[in-house]
Subunit: 225 residues, 2 copies
């Protein structure tokens, strides 16, 4: 199904978004490890996901071990834990691709766009890490709930932002591997748009009483996405 | 075609976005005046639009006269002219609805999201004006080119943000009047998402060599939009 098999660590992999991505990537043939600070919870989520897959292909460990063994590290922790988690694995992710799905929601008003002072939460992480890590922003707008049902077709596109085009290309392919259309959406600072959009989607869910509003990009032929 | 006829002043109405909106609203039965600081250009654009309509329904005048006569004032000037234009008509728009379509592009890097320090350029205008004007953000993502062809079906939805729900409701209806799906997207600060998205769409146009990428909201039944 996939063109290139990656070893992926999903940090925050016991959460709704992370576990959904882990499940779909494992199903597409990638080697996936959930990273977590809570081994009991990780064991439980890992067992649930493997039961869905009917295999034992997903593993779990602490964040540092998971990041160390992976070539691609995915960050799906709450905004409040973003910087601490990046700091924790700073050595382990050097030279790698970090896919950051962080949305800078500020509870309790999560339907209100409240971007950090610098604009984008993910661009801030790229600044923290410097050139040693290729940070790519993606998956902020995809409903966690829909990811967890591996047969569900997701009516939402992925905006992929990052300063390194080849890293973006890998993330676009990883999105396609799990049935999503994904687009190169420019440099890492453009992540501000995807991050802000999540609050709009939450706002739409509330206003229109729907479970998962999403976005589609129009005007681009399917073959290009 | 429309449920309520409005008297609309489109400031910056000689530009691509403003003239397209003016054309479509006039065609839908609204009374439209182009506001401009350049009477010769305004006369010329007005003549062009009326030729398309086959009538003389669109008028033109200076910004202050146009704003003074209107119940709804629309701002479609470049970001650099936004504050000066608002200052110019501050008295004339008191108590009215100001629809602001401003996108904070920073030339030459217009495909790069560069939101102002406060987050949203339109939210800044609401702060400038205080409670006297109900500012509503909309139309940032709709291709000007497509608006100018009144028979062209536009494959792009409108995110409508504003702190006053009844004002947003009027703007949602005005978008529908010209054949667009529009959604209540939350308070005025949420405009940051729509403003940032425009740079993403420009970025997609460049990357995928298309004339007008757009967005569609998914997951909400059509009847609700």
């Amino acid at each position: 199904m996939t063109t290139q098999v990656h070893t992926i660590a999903v940090l925050g992999g016991t959460g709704a978004e992370g576990s959904g991505l882990a499940l779909r990537w494992a199903r597409a043939g990638h080697r996936v490890t959930l990273g977590s600070r809570n081994p009991e919870k990780a064991a439980k989520v890992c067992e649930e996901l493997n039961a869905v897959l009917g295999s034992n292909s997903i593993a779990f460990s602490d964040n540092r071990s998971a990041a160390s063994a992976a070539t691609i590290v995915v960050l799906t922790v709450p905004h409040q834990a973003q910087h601490a988690t990046v700091d924790e694995v700073r050595k382990e992710i050097a030279g790698k691709i970090l896919i950051d799905a962080t949305v800078p929601l500020v509870p309790p008003k999560v339907a209100r766009v409240q971007l950090p002072a610098g604009g984008s939460a993910v661009a801030e992480v790229q600044r923290m890490l410097g050139d040693t890590v290729r940070v790519v922003s993606a998956f902020q707008n995809v409903s966690a709930h829909e990811l967890r049902d591996p047969d569900h077709s997701i009516d939402c596109d992925v905006l992929v932002c990052g300063d390194d085009v080849s890293a973006r290309e890998i993330v676009v392919a990883l999105a396609r591997d799990i049935g999503l259309r994904a687009y190169h959406a420019g440099p890492i600072c453009n992540s501000a748009a995807a991050e802000a959009l999540t609050s709009i989607l939450i706002s739409l869910n509330i206003r229109y009483k729907v479970p998962g509003a999403g976005i589609r990009i129009t005007g681009i032929p399917d073959a290009a996405s």
